[in-house]
């Protein structure tokens, strides 16, 4: 029984902790790209996406669909999003990305909890509490990795915004000062001209 428990733990860890990093892909304008996952009822699905490109037009439309094309969540022109749900039925779940106007680079990450009927086995076998705790630790580590990845992506985007902000402030302040001086000069010049060839009023 101990061997079973340990082997079970091992299997769970090797899967739960094996989390791929978020890959980014280039989404061409007008084309839709879908990712599919097949899972069983009761599994927890966690996905997040973040638009890597920055600027005007840096958003995507995302549709999360369940089996039978039932829409689970819909994102309209969002630059980041997170969806977490428990699969209600066995089948294929799809995440579709599109942007009708601009090409964008999006980074996407999905994690599906594994379905071993673990809870049943544990209850029946009266497995050691430690095994169960370590299994839960695994899920927490995976969840932490997910959240950290999403945080990194957001931070990168916010820093781009802050840098752009600073550049804009500097640039437009300089333009403003220059404009004031130019307009003042132009005013004086114009008024002088007004009086140049005229006789005194």
């Amino acid at each position: 029984a101990a061997a079973v428990a340990v082997a079970l733990l091992l299997a769970v860890w090797s899967c739960a902790a094996r989390v791929a990093s978020g890959l980014s892909f280039e989404l061409t304008a007008g084309k839709e790209l879908c990712f599919h996952e097949i899972t069983h009822k009761g599994n927890k699905v966690l996905a997040f996406f973040d638009v890597v490109s920055w600027g005007y037009g840096a958003y995507v439309y995302v549709k999360v669909r369940g089996p039978g094309s039932k829409v689970i969540k819909d994102f309209d022109a969002e630059s980041e999003g997170r969806v977490e749900f428990t699969a209600e039925a066995d089948g294929e779940y799809s995440f579709c990305f599109s942007n009708p106007y601009t090409a964008t680079e999006v980074s996407f990450w999905v994690n599906i909890e594994n379905d071993f009927g673990l809870a049943d086995v544990i209850k029946e076998e009266h497995v050691n509490d430690m095994v169960y705790s370590v299994e839960r630790l695994n899920s927490l580590v995976s969840a932490a990795k997910i959240d950290l990845s999403s945080f990194k992506a957001r931070e990168a985007r916010h820093r781009k915004t802050a840098e752009s902000n600073r550049r804009r402030v500097t640039f437009w302040a300089a333009i403003e000062c220059a404009l004031i001086v130019i307009v003042a000069g132009a005013q004086i010049y114009r008024i002088r001209k007004l009086f140049e060839n005229k006789r005194s009023i």
């Binding site: 029984a1 340990v6 082997a7 079970l8 733990l9 091992l10 299997a11 769970v12 860890w13 090797s14 899967c15 902790a17 094996r18 989390v19 791929a20 990093s21 978020g22 890959l23 980014s24 892909f25 280039e26 879908c34 990712f35 599919h36 097949i38 599994n43 066995d90 996407f108 994690n111 599906i112 594994n114 379905d115 071993f116 009927g117 029946e124 076998e125 370590v134 630790l137 695994n138 580590v141 932490a144 950290l148 931070e155 990168a156 916010h158 820093r159 802050a162 840098e163 902000n165 600073r166 550049r167 402030v169 302040a173 000062c177 004031i180 003042a184 005013q187 009086f195 005194s200 009023i201």
Partner: protein, 285 residues
């Protein structure tokens, strides 16, 4: 019948045929599964053979959803690229699986680094594994040190990647060869790096670790990586704070300067025009 079982008492694992064999997802050395068949035990039997059931479930479970990756469809005559950044020096492993389908279609995969050099390539991929170590493609100087030393040129932070650079790799799949009646194919791409990429089987043998110890060692590595990344993100956020505070003070200064300039110029205008009229002996005032 127990959950998910059919009348014969057999579950087909994902991608498997009717006999429960030849499953689409195969085992890799970085997962632990070897057996891909999952058998159901009807309710009555479960209590008697709980141990047996658990063993079998283990064996199967270790595989089915093990490799967390992206699954998508490749259409004929198309290209799809994915990219990711990996910290320098980290080992990157992964695999790509192309499911079978109608018609003949050849899917090629190529991995390129930032300079465009090919790191790995395979034509007509069916199921292939790849592995490489992330190396910086000869970048001149390390800009990160410029930030820390404090002598940074404030206008140089154009690109996020410049300051916090991790080598970026591109995984490209293309399907330009094949016949006309080929339909789309399902492709699964998995990429792991860092702790996920270590081969724990070998480690267990080398150091004679028990299974529990191996598991815990793996978890330890994962958490160590996680903590490193947290530290990295914390530094980046510090840079964000610096930028924001600098913008905040700049807004105040530039607005003040702007107002002063406007007042000065206005005063100068009035003085100038006064003198002008005086010279012309136009006593408008």
């Amino acid at each position: 019948a127990a959950r998910g079982c059919d009348e014969k008492g057999v579950i087909a694992a994902r991608g498997c045929d009717e006999k429960g064999l030849n499953c689409g997802v195969r085992a890799s050395a970085y997962g632990r599964a070897r057996v891909l068949v999952r058998k159901c035990a009807p309710e009555s039997m479960k209590k008697k053979t709980a141990a047996a059931a658990a063993m079998m479930m283990l064996a199967a479970a270790a595989c089915v959803s093990c490799v967390a990756g992206l699954r998508f469809y490749m259409h004929p005559q198309s290209e799809q690229c994915f990219s990711d950044s990996f910290e320098e020096g980290r080992r990157v492993v992964g695999d790509v699986v192309v499911a079978s389908g109608k018609g003949v279609i050849e899917i090629d995969m190529v991995i390129k680094d930032e300079a465009g050099a090919v790191v790995w390539q395979k034509n007509n991929v069916d199921h292939a594994k790849f592995e490489f170590t992330s190396t910086a493609a000869g970048r001149g100087h390390d800009r990160r040190s410029r930030y820390h030393s404090g002598d940074h040129d404030e206008y140089m932070y154009d690109d996020d990647d410049d300051m916090w650079h991790s080598p970026k790799y591109e995984f490209c799949l293309s399907s330009h060869r094949g016949d006309s009646n080929a339909r789309k194919r399902r492709v699964t791409l998995n990429v792991h790096s860092g702790a996920s990429a270590r081969n724990y089987d070998e480690l267990a043998k080398e150091e004679h670790l028990s299974e529990l110890e191996t598991t815990l060692r793996g978890m330890y590595d994962e958490l160590t990586n996680l903590m490193q990344e947290v530290e990295h993100v914390r530094m980046r956020e510090d840079a964000l704070r610096v930028i924001n505070e600098s913008t905040n003070s700049r807004v105040v200064w530039y607005s003040a300067i702007s107002c002063v300039v406007m007042l000065a110029v206005g005063a100068y205008q009035i003085v100038y025009m006064k003198n002008f009229f005086r010279k012309r002996k136009l006593h408008v005032f």
